[in-house]
Each structure stands twice: as structure tokens, then as C-alpha cells.
Amino acid sequence: MTAQVLLRGRELTRRWGGLVAVDRVSLELERGSVHAVIGTNGAGKSTLINLLSGEIAPSSGEVQLLGSDVTHWPQPKRARAGLGRSYQRNTIYPSFGVIENCRLAAQARRQQPWGWWRDAARDESTLAAARDAAARAGLTALLDRPAGLLSHGQKRQLEIAMCLATAPEVLLLDEPLAGMGAEETERMLALLAELKHGHAILLVEHDMDAVFRIADRITVMVNGAVIASGTPDDVRASAEVRTAYLGDH
């Protein structure tokens, strides 16, 4: 069985004035695999995610989602087509409950702005998706807790759950492990491993141990450009990576 490519970036470039933040990066995300992007601070990883998700427009290059050219689609349209992302900093809605955070995300797929008399909190179709997403992220016990009161790790889980609630095909995860303790990291890795089935995942992460444990493919970026890409073993073996990145210490 050949793997199905869900998201493809081709020769993506983004310049800020004279500075090239992302330099002709191409990559493919396949269903059922985790593709990690690593690199030093300022290597252009977050910009890459922003280009793929449509938050910023590329200076040149092309993005394909599920076979269609989405380069000129605005972000919300890409999201509705099955592209989910999480943020490096928590972007949950702190005053809402966990379930409402997820429900609102689920609502994005079933927007019915005209039914102004209907109570959103009793809207079963979105609630079911929300409960399901929360359950998969391991938050079932905390459904009614205001998101602002969650622990840091739980907030990161909620980020993922909100992402899942939109029923995406592709997940772009920006440092989901940032700031987590060992135990929380383990839980998150288990979650990612489970999510791999049926989704294509792009993982930007600093925790090298985690990346090498879970990633199927790794792309290494330095100064906006890709210097190596391949299986974890390939990357580990790559001389360039060693000198440019891993070998630093």
C-alpha cells in the first residue's frame, strides 16, 4: 500500500524584507505518519507552519491539501477543508469550560449562524464531536472545568483536543511538548502515537528524544532552509546535521 500524501508544500519561500525566513522548503505529509521538523530557534519552523496553515502568504511556492492547490485559500477555508493546527503558546479560551472550548472548535465544521434562538450548549451534533475530541485527548474527567484553571499540561492537551474537534485530516502541531514535565510528556507522546492512525501530523518540537522516538520522518531546518530530510536514522547519520545542529554540543 502506498502512503497517501495529504499535505504537500512545494518550494515554499517567505521573505521579510531582505530576510529569508523560509527558503524553498518542500515537504510532504502522509496519512499515518509523523513528520517532525527540527531546527534551532529562528530556523523558520513556526513560519513554515504559518505558511502551510495559511496564516501568512508565501512569497513564492505552493501548498496542496488533499490534492487541491490551496495556496491562495484563506486560513479558515483551509481549516474547514481538514487542516488543523495548534499553537506554541496556549490559545485556549480561558473563561470557557473544557467542553465549550472543544465544542466551539467543532462548530467550525458545522457553522449555522442563522439559528439565533438555539442554545449552542445543547447542540448535540457539535457536543458529540467535542466530547469525542476531549476523550481522545484524555480530558473526559475535566469537561466542565474552566480552561483557565487547568494545569499547563492539561492546557496543552486541550490544544490538541480543540484541534481534533474540527475533525482534521492533517495536524500541524507547534511544540506540543513545550514546558511539560516527564509524565505529561509521556502521556502526550502516547496520544500522538495514537493520533498517527488516520492523520498526517507535522510536529515542530525541541525535545529531541521525543522527536526521535515518535517521528517517522524528520526534516532539519537551518536558517530557513532544509539541510536534511529522511528517517530518524538517516538524519542521525547525516554529517551536515551533526555539524550544523546536533554536533553543536
Binding site: G84, Y87, L149
Partner: protein, 332 residues
């Protein structure tokens, strides 16, 4: 809405319904005015408190509703059936146009663009013969519908109360609907909403238009109540005053707009009262200003945060913890 909030709202409306039985004609007049301002404040609350769009030109929609009521009325008086919708529509259409353009900007720039459009409307009625100039124009005959003759103070009071209740219930339902939840999400984090798949612009535009239309309703009632309109109805002073009302009452709650409108009007009455301040009453702005400053310093969440604050004082940490999300939100 939990039970205590519901009880509060029901009590307020019951009191308002009973008020004409107790009050004289001035009292009825005063509360009619305050209720009109409350509807106006609710319209802005939908933008500022719910959607996070700070509009500094809300008076334009209010004024357009009022001017439409006067300009569209034939000399022998109009029927409510078409005049009221026409006024609301006029304000809504202007809001749609203003919103479509101004929502391209953000933050302080949005505040200023809405102000600019309001000033434009102000100068159109102020400087052109169309608007009757500085001294304004009179509404010769008030609209009616069968027994619903708005020329009678009692009827107008009842009608305004019904409009206020209708607006409140409508917004209450709207805010818990999927549309309202999306607006709330946009206020907290618009970027996240876009990443989730919401095209936020149409949502904001819809909220802006709706808000303008409701302000137009308030303006219509104001014109009918006073029987005269003038450009000051569109001045930035009024836009500022209504903003003060909702902040004073407490942002993020429909009840806050209600409380704020009453508090602001009653504070003015209080400081202007010769009975209390004697000759110093002519300097009533001083008292009002100091009270507003005091409220900012001591009541960051507005008057609506008052009970929670008392509970914190009395109950200590347990309540403080429950109040955390609100605080966190306030700090955003």
C-alpha cells in the same frame, strides 16, 4: 444563565413594569429615557463586550434611527408597522456599510475609523439642509398603531419596556447560540478562531450590522419620546457616554449594560440635584467625574463585579479561586 442572574433580570423587569404605578409623570419620563439608553448600551455591549470590537461611533446609528423616524414620518403621523422597521433598517444599512469598511482595521485604528464615520454622519445632518441644520427638526406627529399611540407617555413607556425586554431576550438567546459563541470566541482569540475554520469577517460584520440596527431602534424610540432630533444625537460625546455606561456596568455581561445605563443616568440625576448639593449642584460634572474615577480605581469589573468583590472580602480564598477565570480574562 444561572438562577441568581435570572432572578436578578426578572426582578429588574418586574420593577420596571410596576414603576408607572408608583411614579409620577416625570419618573415615567426619566425611566423611559434610561430604558432607551439601556437599549442603546445593549447594542454597544454586543460589539464591545461580546465581540471585542470597540466602536467609538455608535451614536451615528442611534442618530440615524432618530433622524429616519422624523424624516420618514408623514405630517399626519406614520404607522408603527412600517416606520419602526424602516428606522431600524436605515441604521442597519449604514452600519453594514461602515462595518464593511472599518472592519478592515484593528484595535485603536478601528476605534478611530468608526469615530470618523460617525463624525461624517454628524456633519451631514449638521451642515446640509437635508438634516435641518444645527437646531434640528421636529417630529410633527408621533407614530401609532391602533391603541398603541406612542404620543401617550404611559403607552410609550410600555412600548419602550417591551423593546428593552425584547432586545435583552434576543441578545441573551443570541449570545448562547452558535453565532454568539463564535462572537465570544472572536473576542478572546480571533486568530485561533480563524485557525479553527471560522471566517471571522462575516461574523464581525453581522454583529456590527445587528448592533447598528439595535442602536437605530433606540434612536427611533428617542426621537418618538422627545419629538425633536438634532445633530448632537450623533456627536462623539454620546458615543463616549454610552461606552462609559457599559464599562461602568461591567463589560461582558448584558446585565452590565442595563446596570450601567441606570447607574450613569441616576448618578447624573443625583449630582445635579439641588436638594442634595444646593448651589454646588451647578458643578455636578465634578462629582460625576470623581465617581467615575473612583469606579475605575476600585471596581475594575464594573458595578456588576460588586457582589463578587463583597463575597471575596467575606469568603476569602474559596471565592477568589472561582473568580480566577474572570480575572484572567480581564488581564488578557
Amino acid at each position: 444563565m444561572d438562577r441568581s442572574k435570572l432572578a436578578f433580570v426578572v426582578a429588574v423587569f418586574a420593577l420596571l413594569a410596576a414603576w408607572p404605578l408608583a411614579a409620577g409623570s416625570y419618573g415615567v419620563d426619566l425611566v423611559t429615557k434610561i430604558m432607551v439608553y439601556a437599549i442603546f448600551a445593549l447594542s454597544l455591549e454586543l460589539l464591545v463586550g461580546t465581540t471585542g470590537l470597540v466602536c467609538f461611533g455608535q451614536a451615528a446609528f442611534f442618530g440615524i434611527g432618530a433622524y429616519a423616524a422624523v424624516l420618514l414620518s408623514p405630517a399626519e403621523g406614520a404607522s408603527l408597522v412600517w416606520l419602526l422597521p424602516a428606522c431600524v433598517l436605515a441604521a442597519g444599512v449604514y452600519a453594514l456599510a461602515v462595518g464593511a469598511l472599518s472592519l478592515r482595521t484593528k484595535g485603536v485604528y478601528f476605534i478611530m475609523v468608526t469615530l470618523a464615520f460617525a463624525q461624517m454622519a454628524y456633519y451631514v445632518v449638521h451642515d446640509t439642509p437635508f438634516g435641518g441644520g444645527t437646531d434640528g427638526i421636529y417630529l410633527t406627529a408621533k407614530p401609532s398603531l391602533g391603541v398603541l399611540d406612542l404620543d401617550r407617555a404611559g403607552v410609550l413607556y410600555g412600548f419602550t419596556l417591551a423593546c428593552l425586554a425584547g432586545t435583552f431576550v434576543f441578545l441573551g438567546l443570541l449570545l448562547r447560540s452558535p453565532f454568539g459563541r463564535a462572537l465570544a470566541g472572536i473576542r478572546v482569540n480571533e486568530q485561533r478562531m480563524r485557525a479553527t475554520g471560522f471566517s471571522t469577517y462575516p461574523y464581525k460584520l453581522a454583529a456590527f450590522t445587528l448592533s447598528g440596527a439595535i442602536a437605530g431602534l433606540a434612536g427611533f424610540l428617542f426621537a418618538v419620546k422627545d419629538g425633536v432630533v438634532n445633530p448632537e444625537l450623533m456627536s462623539w460625546h454620546l458615543s463616549g457616554a454610552v461606552l462609559v455606561m457599559i464599562i461602568l456596568g461591567g463589560l461582558g455581561h448584558l446585565r452590565g449594560a442595563l446596570i450601567g445605563a441606570f447607574a450613569f443616568a441616576l448618578l447624573q440625576e443625583f449630582f445635579q440635584s439641588v436638594a442634595v448639593f444646593g448651589a454646588f449642584a451647578k458643578h455636578w460634572h465634578l462629582g460625576l467625574g470623581l465617581t467615575i474615577i473612583g469606579c475605575v480605581a476600585l471596581l475594575p469589573r464594573g458595578l456588576i463585579g460588586l457582589p463578587a468583590r463583597w463575597r471575596e472580602r467575606l469568603g476569602g480564598r474559596a471565592f477568589a479561586r472561582a473568580a480566577l477565570p474572570a480575572a484572567e480574562e480581564a488581564a488578557r
